[in-house]
């Protein structure tokens, strides 16, 4: 018996006086049954939501939830007394306009651990890092969930990981051999391309000091660049369709060649930034042959974010004397897709957003902040402020840990964020940008 008939039967039983008026009653009940509003269900919405959910969802059950979040690399905390080779594979992402947007506000999840160029990885389960404070200027205002922590995976490489690396047979376009894990991460992040593979060699001396030379292969231009402490020293062309450049020995040899050429000592000195790139895979072999691989979040080439026009009463963490309190309202939903263009020069790496009226912005090297920690001893003042139309930005963040030799070891990543300028008022005279990270460490 269908719903209409069931209700009809119930009604006629409950109210005998309706008998004889079945056509009218049926019409009314049918109207109620059938007059459900047209909900305007949008399959496109459903598909997009599903894509976002599946990006967020762990892959495979049973699964360890912890594995889908990020943690600080243990090696950054480990003793540096043992001589070690730190192999840093850096990839930079394609700047194509037609990339697949990353799902936000949730961070992408690491997945397909068994399908990478290194063999099966074992997640170490290290605890999340805390962020270091520093910097200032126009990026000195931050907003983030209290639980927000940097996004870093740490994995243990299998002992035979080199055997598992599949080198390409020709100059790669999107995916390159040892960078295949990066490509895999890229696919997880819905990124459609990888363009650069950078290999950096760190030589850590027994005295716990280090210098680094990074050798960067640019697949777009088929050239090899050498950086010393992130400063470009030399670029040379390499032959295409030649996979030998990918061998570790060749690149290390190149690094040594450059070091000798420029008189750069490979031992002694101070530790430097790992990289100014953003998809970073770290691998290290220490004296115990324990290799660790970690990856920081990669920047997508475009991002779609939906936010409300009116944003208030969200906790805003700001360096300085004032906490700005905003109140969320149900303003008009805005969906913004912004392609990213990445630029690198000797001094910095930065991104710009284009093809949108809400063109934003820039990222600068340096300046780490802690969005969840107040400066001690400062007064908290709650104020209402008015914001200008927010724009979508990628906000540079980094996490640093102190090594046993006192040097800072930093991981870098970008956080899709909204940036809105505080409109100055008589009550609030400081013109600041509010940076609102859209990613948290928890989906």
């Amino acid at each position: 018996m269908n719903t209409l008939e069931a209700i009809m039967a119930d009604l006629l039983e409950l109210e005998p006086s309706l008998k004889g008026k079945e056509p009218q009653v049926r019409a009314i009940v049918a109207a109620i049954v059938k007059a459900k509003p047209d909900t305007q269900f949008d399959q496109t919405f459903a598909d997009k939501l599903k894509a976002q959910l599946l990006v967020t969802a762990p892959d495979g059950a049973p699964a360890t939830r912890r594995a889908w979040y990020f943690s600080v690399p243990a090696w950054s905390l480990a003793s540096a007394s043992a001589a070690a080779l730190l192999l840093v594979v850096v990839t930079q992402l394609d700047m194509q306009q037609n990339s697949t947007p990353i799902a936000t506000p949730h961070l992408p999840q690491m997945a397909h651990l068994a399908r990478n160029g290194f063999g099966t990885l074992q997640f170490t389960g290290n605890t999340p890092a805390t962020m270091e404070r520093g910097g200032g200027g126009e990026e000195s205002t931050r907003l983030a969930d209290d639980s927000w922590t940097p996004t870093v995976y740490e994995f243990i490489l299998p002992s035979n990981w080199m055997e598992n690396v599949q080198l390409p047979t020709e100059a790669p376009v999107y995916t390159v051999g040892r960078g295949s894990i990066a490509a895999d991460i890229s696919s997880m992040l819905n990124l459609d391309a990888l363009r650069n593979l950078n290999l950096s060699v760190y030589n850590v001396s027994a005295e716990n000091s280090e210098r680094n030379i990074s050798v960067s292969y640019d697949t777009a231009n088929d050239n090899l660049s050498m950086y010393f402490n992130n400063v470009l020293y030399q670029t040379e062309e390499l032959p295409t369709a030649d996979a030998t450049w990918l061998s570790e020995e060749v690149l290390i040899g190149k690094a040594r060649q450059y070091a000798e050429q420029y008189g750069i000592p490979l031992e002694g000195g101070t530790s430097g930034e790992i990289s100014d790139q953003y998809l970073v895979l770290y691998a290290r072999a220490n004296a115990q042959e324990r290799r660790t691989l970690a990856a920081t979040i990669a920047p997508p080439t475009a991002v779609t974010v939906t936010f409300r026009k009116t944003i208030d009463n969200l906790p805003v963490y700001r360096h300085g004397e004032t906490q700005i309190t905003l109140t969320p309202t149900t303003g008009e939903l805005i969906s913004l897709t912004a392609p990213l263009n990445w630029h690198t020069n000797a001094a910095s790496t930065y991104a710009t957003l284009t093809d949108t009226e809400q063109i934003a912005t820039y990222f600068r090297w340096g300046g780490t902040v802690d969005p969840t920690t107040w400066y001690p001893g400062q007064t908290v003042i709650k104020q209402q402020v008015q914001l200008e139309q927010p724009t979508l930005v990628y906000n540079y963040q980094s996490v640093c840990t102190e090594q046993s030799n006192g040097a800072a070891q930093c991981n870098t990543y970008l956080v899709p964020s909204l940036s809105a300028t505080v409109i100055p008022t008589e009550e609030y005279l400081f013109r600041n940008d509010i940076i609102i990270p859209l990613s948290t460490n928890q989906p």
């Binding site: 719903t3 209700i7 119930d10 009604l11 006629l12 409950l14 109210e15 006086s17 309706l18 008026k21 056509p23 009218q24 009653v25 019409a27 009314i28 049918a30 109207a31 109620i32 049954v33 059938k34 007059a35 459900k36 509003p37 909900t39 305007q40 269900f41 949008d42 919405f45 459903a46 939501l49 599903k50 976002q52 959910l53 599946l54 967020t56 969802a57 762990p58 892959d59 495979g60 059950a61 049973p62 699964a63 360890t64 939830r65 912890r66 594995a67 949730h106 389960g125 149900t330 939903l333 928890q442 989906p443």
Partner: protein, 181 residues
């Protein structure tokens, strides 16, 4: 360490496909605004995903009921600050297909609406859950935090009230319309 999840990503996707429309519809019926309904439906599934490790029951019906419970809570949260936008008059709006069908039978939708307004919110909600959302009594009970027996009893009362309202309405119609309905 860690918590075992109760389903794979693929399984979650399959269940999403199965339930997204009815969850969205449920939200739309109660907020009457497409974007808001999409917003709430999205939050339903993200909440479900976040809490998946706490959901151990693989029973599809239980999962569905769980989604509806999340949806109802979110709708209620929404209504705490926003007046419900779906009223009975929307159902029987003068330009709706239903109104046209009723008009063909000589039934004045305005009067029908007046009659149905005699149903209180709970009675209307129970009828709506049963008739529009097609939820069984057990799921309605879970959703409203009532026993299944209580839901059946309230549903019966709601129908009885509806029956008496219809009887009065039809009596009125009979007295005002000379045509055979």
């Amino acid at each position: 360490m860690g918590t075992k999840l109760c389903m794979t990503r693929e399984e979650f996707g399959q269940r999403y496909d199965h339930h997204i429309k009815e969850i969205y519809d449920f939200c739309y019926y109660r907020v009457g605004h497409k974007a808001t309904a999409e917003d709430i439906a999205s939050e339903v599934f993200f909440k479900a995903l976040r809490a998946l490790d706490r959901f151990d029951d693989r029973d599809p019906a239980a999962f569905r009921g769980w989604l509806f419970t999340i949806a109802r809570n979110l709708v209620n949260d929404h209504h705490r600050t926003k007046k419900p936008t779906v009223e009975l008059q929307h159902v029987f709006a003068s330009n709706s297909p239903s109104a046209e069908r009723l008009a063909d039978l000589g039934i004045d939708t305005a009067r029908l609406h007046e009659a149905l307004k005699e149903l209180d919110d709970t009675e209307w909600e129970i009828i709506r859950l049963r008739v529009w959302d097609d939820l069984p009594h057990a799921e309605i009970a879970a959703l409203l935090d009532l026993s299944e027996g209580a839901v059946k009893m309230r549903y019966g009362r709601s129908l009885k009230k509806l029956a008496s309202l219809l009887a009065a309405l039809l009596l009125l119609l009979t007295s005002t319309h000379t045509t055979t309905l």
